[in-house]
């Protein structure tokens, strides 16, 4: 709102939490969470030593981009997560109300083994890998983030899709009690995203449970999200509660809101501009500053190996 934006420009000094205090509060909350967890049995993947938020994983060199990782502070305070508000600062401010345990992900649709997995089951489903991916937002900025997770293909294999499964639909949690933004009618909740089955099976497609050596911060889509690095960021659904295999192409939240602006594929493509702006260049958060030109956006965000998925397709038409 107009009025709130003015306040955001200059919060009164009394409202700014001193950094050490903020950090100790974070630690305290972490310890609180750890205490709660230890009662229900600490999940194996959460390491016992160090911060209870830490999540250990093995670095996957194949999927470690050469880019300099974006600062954690930037990656965790500049977010688009409309369930918590439309300002980039809103998710970090308001996602604390999200309860990530217990958590259940229902997996159903065109599969032989429908099931519901809780967070511990997801954490144990496959060995956790750390991968540094570029993230390109449709708005023209980008980051490089060390995610933790495993290829979604691991999960797909376990549930055995039927011959009818052509697409996967991902639904995010939409609980107005925990997510203040869901009260607004900006999108038709819940947030729904989708992939073609072969896209979902591509090894780059990551089922993500952490970043920067920790479990996901709430504002980044905790406790489980998707990361599809060759597509614009909004394709990577956050806080997933349902994974449904379908024969028909899913009707995505943004596709319903503005079909001429957000296509189903939404592959990063410098040649195909958004109606409101060019996608030829991008600004890397924390690097491209006031005195540098924006950098060129790469086809498929610099992941040419996915090109074969779209052989013969007119990517201007299927944007």
């Amino acid at each position: 709102m107009l009025i709130r934006r003015v306040r955001f420009v200059q919060p009164p000094a009394s409202e700014i939490t001193p950094r050490p205090l903020a950090e100790s509060r974070r630690l305290f909350l972490g310890q609180l969470a750890a205490g709660a967890l230890s009662v229900s049995g600490l999940p194996v993947a959460l390491s016992a030593e160090g911060s209870s938020r830490s999540l250990s994983a093995t670095l996957n060199p194949t999927y470690t981009a050469k880019d300099k990782p974006t600062r954690f502070d930037d990656a965790s305070t500049y977010n688009n997560f409309y369930e918590f508000g439309m300002d980039k600062a809103d998710p970090a401010m308001y996602a604390g109300s999200l309860k990530t345990r217990p958590w259940a992900v229902r997996i159903d649709g065109e599969i032989k083994k429908p099931l519901t997995l809780d967070l511990d089951a997801l954490l144990k489903l496959a060995p956790l890998e750390e991968r540094l991916y570029r993230l390109r937002c449709v708005e023209g900025w980008s980051m490089a983030i060390p995610w933790i997770g495993y290829s979604l293909a691991e999960l797909i294999r376990k549930v055995e899709p039927t011959g009818n499964a052509k697409f996967i639909e991902f639904s995010s949690l939409a609980d107005p009690a925990q997510m203040r933004g869901v009260n607004s009618r900006v999108l038709d909740w819940p947030y729904v995203e989708g992939l073609r089955l072969d896209e979902a099976n591509h090894p780059l497609t990551l089922l993500c449970l952490g970043m920067y050596g920790q479990v996901l911060p709430n504002q980044n889509g905790a406790p489980v999200r998707l990361v599809v690095p060759w597509k614009y960021g909004f394709k990577s659904a956050k806080s997933i509660v349902r994974i449904r295999f379908t024969e028909q192409q899913p009707r995505t939240a943004w596709g319903r809101a503005a079909p001429e602006e957000y296509g189903f594929y939404s592959n990063v493509n410098p040649e195909v501009s958004h109606p409101r702006w060019s996608q030829a260049t991008e600004r890397r958060i924390g690097e491209d500053g006031l005195f540098t030109r924006k950098r060129k956006t790469l086809m498929f965000n610099g992941y040419p190996e996915v090109g074969s998925l779209y052989a013969g397709m007119d990517l201007k038409k299927f944007f």
């Binding site: 709102m1 107009l2 934006r5 003015v6 420009v9 200059q10 502070d73 930037d74 990656a75 305070t77 500049y78 439309m86 980039k88 600062a89 708005e139 900025w141 607004s184 900006v186 999108l187 809101a257 503005a258 602006e261 501009s273 958004h274 109606p275 409101r276 702006w277 060019s278 600004r283 958060i285 924390g286 500053g289 006031l290 030109r293 924006k294």
Partner: protein, 207 residues
């Protein structure tokens, strides 16, 4: 306070000048402290755009406010508010040219022509130019009645500014702010319409 005394007016103007400059100083202060957030350029672009819109509203508020309060001295502050609208609009355009296109004028033109929200915003800015240029007293006197006619352009500029803001946000359905801004402008322009309608009726009333 029907008429501001010259001495008093000077103080009020000085205070207003400083207050109107403070949003810029604040952004500079945050910039020096590295507190402009993860995307400083977006922050600066949006702040300058926001403040251009706010000052446009302030400028348009003078006439109704003067009417309601009877404080005619307010009129003497309108030019400064108008020039600050222009000032923040200039900063906004510089942000666009500098940060978005790194002074690549050709790329900027392509953007202006290709994207309606930029076309509209740029048109609003261009229309502000003659208003700013004709603000000195001497030019104003020289223009006489034509000055007032010319400065009615501000109504068109206000409509274009609402459209620019609304269109920019429409891509992400984030319309709360543009709606609020649009409502304020509609109120301010609506007041003038009603006012003129009354004046028209009064002058055409049969005896």
């Amino acid at each position: 306070m029907q008429m501001l005394l010259p001495q008093r007016l000077r103080h009020v103007k000085l205070a207003l000048f400083a207050a109107a400059l403070s949003p810029l100083l604040h952004v500079v202060y945050l910039g020096v402290q590295d507190r402009l957030g993860a995307n400083p350029i977006e922050f600066v672009t949006r702040a300058s755009g926001d403040w251009a819109l706010y000052f446009l509203c302030f400028t348009l508020t003078i006439t109704p406010l003067r009417r309601f309060t009877g404080m005619n001295g307010l009129l003497k502050l309108r030019r400064m508010l108008g020039l600050y609208t222009f000032f923040y609009a200039c900063l906004h355009v510089v942000c666009f040219l500098w940060f978005d296109h790194f002074f690549d004028v050709e790329a900027m033109w392509r953007d202006v022509l290709k994207r309606p929200f930029i076309t509209v915003g740029f048109a609003a800015f261009v229309l502000l130019l003659p208003l700013a240029a004709t603000s000195p007293d001497r030019i104003r006197r020289w223009l006489g009645r034509r000055w007032a006619v010319l400065h009615q352009l501000i109504y068109l500029i206000a409509v274009l500014a609402v459209l620019h803001f609304w269109w920019m946000r429409a891509g992400k359905n984030n319309l709360a702010d543009p709606l609020l801004f649009g409502a304020v402008i509609a109120l301010l322009l609506g007041y003038r319409l009603v006012d003129r309608w009354h004046a028209y009726q009064a002058s055409h009333r049969p005896d």
